[in-house]
């Protein structure tokens, strides 16, 4: 009997939860805010689904009900991707070590 591909995806999912668990515990508490903003940005990889949805129409009718929701989702996810990564970058740039020569 063949294994349902769903089981493989489930395995990826479960193992990723464990990876997430160990990786996040090693994040230093002082960077917890950037952690939240960057997880925000990467969870917007949902834009992949939004793009598929947006391009679901054919060449004559770009816009149908389904693709409009896709386009809206693209815009929302793009706000998050750009906003999330840039604000993280901005925050991380502020974390500096003590200057020795002072």
């Amino acid at each position: 009997m063949e294994i349902d591909p769903l089981i493989f995806r489930l395995s990826i999912f479960v193992l990723s939860i464990f990876i997430g668990y160990y990786v996040v515990w090693s994040v230093t508490p002082s960077l917890h805010t950037p952690l939240m903003s960057v997880t925000n940005a990467i969870s917007s990889v949902i834009i992949v689904g939004a793009i598929i949805a947006g391009l679901s129409g054919d060449s004559e009718t770009v816009f149908n009900t389904s693709s409009i929701f896709g386009f809206l989702a693209i815009a929302l996810a793009a706000i998050n991707i750009f906003g999330g990564f840039l604000v993280t970058q901005r925050m991380l740039a502020m974390y500096k070590k003590k200057k020795k020569d002072k």
Binding site: P29, P34, V45, A73, F82
Partner: protein
């Protein structure tokens, strides 16, 4: 057009890059590189999606257009947002992830063929289950985050909103969501799909309104986690590895942060999400309102105390964020350092409105991160320090958490400022903190209260030090 197998490998690569992005955050030095890995992972995922669809017709232009619109809005916000508003921003971003997940699910439900999920009215069972779970969690994330955003922004009152029968009602709605999903999957009825979304929006709203302002660190982390699970649900529907990996990472990240925040308050997760904390305790504090003597002082007294100290520990709290006092604080510390006084900062895990809130504000004010310490690292140093300068914090220093088993905050880990030779409290008034309990420290012999706006007081002390 590239093959499904090749694109799956690229999605795996971007998933791994996202893991590295989080890994980088283990230290500030590696964090910036980590963020670049994250960006690279996103670029790969988006590009591969374009190539795997292979449709570069007019629709493609619109996709780019919408990315451009969203991207400019996002970039604009990212550059303009003040650091003190970070909790609101993160809550706002969570709501967008939630809504995007809902929209993708709607789109997939209306046009399943585009996603290889079957035809309308005859969607593959597994996909429909995954889709409806993703949509429901996405909707909860959206409306919950909107409420969190409104509370943090001050548009909605931060105090808990409770009513009779709240918990039974919420439980009933949650059970009905499970039933609706079951019915939806057996009948494929589109009406049920819309009802599912409506009910999920409602429960997200109802779940967050009873939670008070100071519990927001838990709420934000929890919603962070939800947004991850929503993404994972959609990832299963789309059979997309990058989304599944990311969803799992974000989901567990948010869950761990919620756990850390709950532990910082010594409260169980359920105690926090059931809400109502703070509102019930106010009556207790008003009962014993006998007048106790308080020593209050001005900036000169504070400056005198600190000038004669050899080490000072600063304890910032939410009040510092509200007063935007972080820059003034750093200037004061610079003056102290010129006088050869050792200064360090002590951060309680739940100080502020989100995990790490204080650290970001201090970093913004150019405080080197190696002068900033977590509770466990610094708590033993209070007994050797001369002055504790508490600015905008209250409950996290309250010794009652150790002494009075009746107190609502009993057992919460606190910063031992009481062990310092003298304690300076910058506060607007004697009013109790969020938990509604009096702080014995205010009435201690070696405590000096500085009643003023945190920013103004800090600036005055700096002047007095010169």
């Amino acid at each position: 057009m590239i093959s499904a197998n090749l694109s799956a490998i690229f999605y795996l690569v971007s998933g791994v890059l996202f893991i590295l992005a989080l890994r980088g955050l283990s230290s500030p030095e590696t964090s910036r590189q980590g963020n670049l890995f994250g960006i690279l992972g996103m670029i790969i995922a988006v590009t591969v999606t374009f190539f795997s669809i292979g449709n570069f017709s007019s629709g493609f232009i619109y996709v780019l257009l919408f990315i451009l619109i969203g991207g400019s809005i996002g970039a604009f916000i990212a550059y303009r947002i003040p650091m003190t508003a970070m909790p609101e921003l993160v809550a706002g971003f969570h709501s967008l992830v939630g809504l995007a997940a809902v929209f993708v699910a709607i789109s997939a439900f209306l046009n399943p063929a585009a996603f290889n999920l079957g035809t309308p009215g005859n969607i593959k069972l597994g996909s429909l289950i995954e889709m409806s779970i993703g949509a429901a969690i996405g909707a909860i994330t959206f409306s919950g985050s909107v409420i969190a955003f409104l509370k943090l922004q001050g548009i909605m009152s931060g105090s808990p909103i409770t009513f009779k029968g709240q918990h039974p009602l919420n439980a009933l709605i949650l059970i009905s969501i499970v039933i609706i999903i079951y019915l939806l999957c057996s009948t494929q009825s589109s009406n049920l799909f819309w009802i599912l979304l409506a009910v999920s929006f409602l429960i997200g709203f109802l779940l967050i309104i009873p939670i008070g302002g100071a519990d927001m660190p838990v709420v934000i982390s929890m919603l962070n986690s939800y947004s991850g699970w929503a993404a994972a649900g959609i990832g299963f529907t789309l059979e997309n590895t990058a989304l599944i990996i990311t969803g799992a990472l974000v989901g567990s990240s948010g869950a761990i942060l919620s756990y850390i925040m709950c532990k910082g308050m010594n409260r169980s997760f359920f105690n926090v999400i059931l809400g109502g904390f703070g509102a019930t305790e106010q009556s207790a504090s008003s009962q014993n309102k006998e007048q106790k003597p308080v020593k209050s002082g001005n900036a000169d007294d504070a400056a005198f105390l600190m000038k004669n100290a050899s080490s000072v520990i600063i304890v910032p709290g939410y009040g510092m964020a509200v007063a935007q006092a972080q820059h003034a604080l750093r200037e004061m510390v610079d003056t102290l350092k010129k006088n050869d006084i050792k200064v360090s900062y002590a951060i309680h895990p739940v100080a502020g409105r989100m995990p790490g809130h204080m650290n970001v504000l201090l970093a913004e004010a150019n405080v080197p991160y190696d002068e900033v310490f977590e509770l466990e690292e610094i708590n033993n140093d209070f007994s050797n320090a001369d002055v504790a300068f508490v600015i905008g914090a209250n409950d996290v220093t309250n010794p009652v958490a150790k002494t009075d088993p009746q107190s609502p905050i009993f057992g919460m880990p606190i910063l031992d400022v009481e062990k310092c030779k003298s304690v300076l409290f910058v506060k607007r008034s004697l009013s109790p903190g969020y938990a509604g309990i009096d702080n014995d420290l205010f009435y201690k012999e070696n405590t000096l209260m500085l009643f003023a706006d945190a920013k103004k007081m800090t600036e005055d002390i700096t002047k007095a030090l010169d």
